[in-house]
Assembly symmetry: C2
Homo-oligomer: 218 residues x 2
């Protein structure tokens, strides 16, 4: 049995984890027989977005761990608890939470800072030679934390985002939504998902391949 | 192309729609080529539950439509807008939101009241002879609204809940998580999902069958 961690960043595409991507990751991992552990940093969300109107709700605060627990049905731990020796792989779903709560790329671009617990676990998994999967916009995290290793990553075909990844040291590869990009030197897998879309069954194809790779890679 | 509606009840198993059930319903419908329209009633949630601790958060209010929009990525309409003539089928995912926000079964049992928009659409779909799918605990809604027609329904094998469905007029059928119960007289399909569990890939089997039936039934 492979023990795979998932790092969530809230609950909802505009201010947290993209729900479809997170749920599909859980689905494909569970179907593949993996033992899943969900994590999220125990911190306040950058902000709260009304997903009906698209507007930021000033004055409302939500916690990343507490909202992520909605996706995990309560079975979730603080990311500071994550131990590399207990994990065979780690996956970061997308959603703006990955670039608003796990780092501040949404506001600072290539000069972003990564949450300390996120930085620590990505570095430690890489050092241990264990596979990591990055979905949608979350390859930003791998580019920032592991940029000095020049990992090969994809966020689809958005040129300006791809250029920012390259500024952080990554090598960006253009991809389609049903593809994964695998960098065997660093055991990093990425897929564009809702960076391309257009619909849940399309993004599912790439996510299923990413999960399969995470479960298979030794 | 089949036009299928989904009625959401918030975002999170304890106070809204069960996220895995809702996301899987979207996934299987999209993969089957259906055109999906999400709806939710525009009302305040009964309450807000901290999904990390399991505790009710007193004093916090959230709107059912706004939180449901997280699952629907913003593409959602108020349930009062739903028109039977534009729908070929309708699905209700589960989660406590179905029995706290769409009706008050969680507190009043067989004496529950159903939200007027929910009652209207279930009655109208039934009158029009169009298929409706009820997942997890949401068969409660069919039992209450259509009890006088004695529909055959399942919520798995929980005896006390099954008895309450029968008090409302339904005929309860014991089922396994990978099964659906289809009542051809009323075109009502139900599957137990997280009423039985235990995990997302297991509940997916029943949900996939329910979606397939909704898309096929004439």
């Amino acid at each position: 049995v492979r023990n795979i961690g998932i790092v969530l960043s809230g609950c909802g595409v505009q201010d947290g984890s993209e729900i479809h991507e997170a749920a599909l990751t859980l689905f494909f991992l569970d179907r593949a027989g993996a033992k899943i552990t969900c994590f999220a940093p125990n911190k306040e969300q950058y902000h709260v977005v009304d997903h009906y109107t698209g507007e930021v709700r000033g004055g409302e605060n939500r916690q990343v761990l507490v909202e992520s627990a909605r996706i995990a049905r309560g079975e979730i731990s603080g990311l500071s608890q994550a131990k590399v020796e207990l994990l065979d792989g780690l996956i970061f779903p997308g959603g703006f939470g990955a670039v608003k709560n796990l780092c501040d790329f949404a506001f600072k671009n290539e000069n972003c800072q990564v949450n300390k617990d996120v930085e620590r676990i990505i570095q430690a998994m890489h050092t241990a030679g264990k596979p990591q999967g990055f979905i949608c916009i979350s390859p930003v995290l791998a580019a920032k934390v592991l940029g000095s290793f020049h990992p090969r990553l994809t966020i689809g075909n958005d040129q300006s985002t791809a250029q920012l990844l390259e500024k952080m040291g990554a090598k960006h590869i253009i991809s389609k939504v049903d593809e994964i990009i695998y960098d065997p030197d660093h055991k990093i897998i990425s897929t564009a998902a809702y960076m391309l879309g257009p619909t849940i069954s399309k993004v599912a194809v790439g996510i299923e391949k990413l999960v399969q790779k995470i479960v298979e890679v030794e």
